[in-house]
């Protein structure tokens, strides 16, 4: 199957003044754990770009309802690094390296440059680790204003990727969450959509989450790795534009 090429697709996403991106993530997963002794050295070398750091601990909580007992097991420990304004975040923990940019999104070039620089420092400190998964994820939140006396919104006016419900007999949807998984020539594309709490008064908010992962034939050399990340971002743009309507685009102006 030939992937859509953003160079010749008229619907490619451009820069929106009020882009609905709440988080952009570039995420690498390694086959082996990062050595514990590398964490502190990596953090120290990244302090210029990420002056704030806090422990990153992941645990597994287990409950046995029959025995009425529970346990907690620490599974991962590392660092969460961030810029002073908290919008640039890096996580280095166990088998994971990820760079996130929270809103306001500063554009692909800025995000990618920071991510690649951060990766360069981490790799130089930690050493080579076989990458077994590359993920590029963009989480969008579309904030839809309600009419003056309205009690809801027609999501299909804004989201082309939607749930069709026969009405009647069903009334209006109160809440919805959906997930669809696609195979784009070896890249697993997960589209998560759903209503999320609206941070704005008199608005309804819908998340459009595009998560693209590669777990086969993962490039290891830096140039090929970042070329792949670039192409995945292009694919994300095509999928994003195909998932929204002009009414949504008007909200991003």
């Amino acid at each position: 199957m030939t992937l859509p090429n953003s160079d010749n697709n008229e619907a490619v996403s451009g820069q929106y003044p009020k882009a609905p991106i709440t988080e952009a993530v570039i995420d690498f997963r390694f086959a082996d754990s990062i050595p514990q002794e590398s964490y502190a050295r990596t953090r120290d070398k990244l302090l210029d770009n990420y002056p704030l750091s806090s422990d990153w601990v992941e645990g597994i909580a287990s409950f046995d309802m029959v025995k009425r007992s529970g346990s907690f097991q620490e599974a991962v420990r590392g660092f969460r690094l961030s810029s002073v304004d908290q919008v640039n975040v890096a996580i280095i923990a166990d088998k994971r390296f990820s760079v996130s940019r929270l809103a306001p999104y500063s554009g692909w070039e800025d995000f990618r440059t920071r991510a690649r620089e951060t990766w360069g420092v981490a790799k130089a400190t930690v050493g080579y680790r076989k990458i077994e998964r590359i993920g590029v994820r963009y989480i969008n939140r579309i904030d839809i204003p309600m009419g003056e006396n309205a009690t809801g919104v027609e999501i299909s006016k804004y989201l082309a990727f939607r749930l069709d419900v026969p009405q009647p007999p069903f009334p209006a949807i109160q809440l919805q969450t959906s997930q669809a998984i696609f195979d784009f020539d070896g890249r697993m594309v997960i589209i998560n959509t759903g209503t999320v709490p609206a941070p704005l008064v008199k608005h309804v908010s819908v998340a459009l989450d595009i998560d693209i992962g590669l777990e086969r034939d993962v490039p290891q050399a830096d140039d090929a790795l970042w070329a792949y990340v670039d192409s995945t971002r292009d694919l994300k743009n095509v999928l994003f534009e195909a998932s929204i309507t002009d009414a949504a685009r008007a909200l991003f102006q």
Partner: protein, 223 residues
């Protein structure tokens, strides 16, 4: 054109006959993301798994629970409040003017500065800050920010135009407590009340709230 075709997709070995297997065992839980939106989406999917669980036991999956080390030092406490306030602001940053947001952060750094802290200073309550953000985006006051914190930890906003003053305390859950003094000629009028955010402009209407909120020369709250 819409399509209703469904192609079978198997992500992991799951058995339709296993009583311990969740109904939606193939649901892929997101693995990367630090924002509130990422957490909200993960919570939604975990809730789907919980509600459709076929046994009485909670099945821990690949979802990770972030546990942050909690320290009781003042520096750590102030850091967490500043971080939470800035992360909360990030959620709506696409709707905020850049200069207004940076001014807000400077204000936060000032009122939560450990170097200038006094023992009896109140800590900012994050639920109050949430009300403040929603107030700012809904009312869109155009004047420069001047923030304070009440003894209960609620954000205090004040506007002064000549002899006229308006103070609003941001309570949790979109509730506002306001006090004003307004001169009509030489006649001094004062009023106070507590209202939901949605009702504020209607309640302040007789006193012309734009008298305080509008300032065309200052940084606008939002774009």
């Amino acid at each position: 054109m819409t399509s209703s075709s469904l192609q079978f997709y198997r992500r992991e070995k799951v058995s339709g006959l296993d009583p311990a297997q969740s109904l939606f065992a193939t649901l892929a839980l997101p693995r990367a993301g630090v924002s509130d939106t990422a957490s909200a989406l993960s919570d939604s999917f975990l809730e789907i798994l919980r509600r459709t669980d076929t046994t009485g036991r909670i099945q821990p999956r690949s979802a990770s629970i972030e546990v942050t080390t909690r320290k009781t030092s003042l520096v750590e406490t102030l850091y967490e409040i500043r971080a939470n306030a800035k992360l909360m602001t990030s959620r709506v940053a696409m709707h905020l003017d850049k200069e207004w947001r940076l001014s807000l952060f400077r204000n936060l750094d000032e009122i939560l500065d450990p170097e200038a802290w006094h023992d009896d200073d109140p800590l900012l309550a994050i639920p109050s800050f949430e009300t403040f953000l929603r107030f700012s985006l809904f009312i869109k006051p155009n004047r420069q920010l001047s923030l304070g914190v009440s003894n209960q930890g609620n954000l205090l906003l004040g506007w002064i135009v000549g002899k006229d003053r308006l103070s609003i305390e941001m309570l949790p859950q979109d509730v506002l407590r306001w006090v004003l003094v307004r001169y009509v000629g030489d006649e001094r009028e004062s009023a106070a009340g507590q209202v939901p955010l949605l009702r504020l402009m209607a309640v302040l209407g007789p006193f012309d709230p734009e008298h305080w909120f509008a300032d065309h020369g200052a940084a606008a709250t939002s774009r």
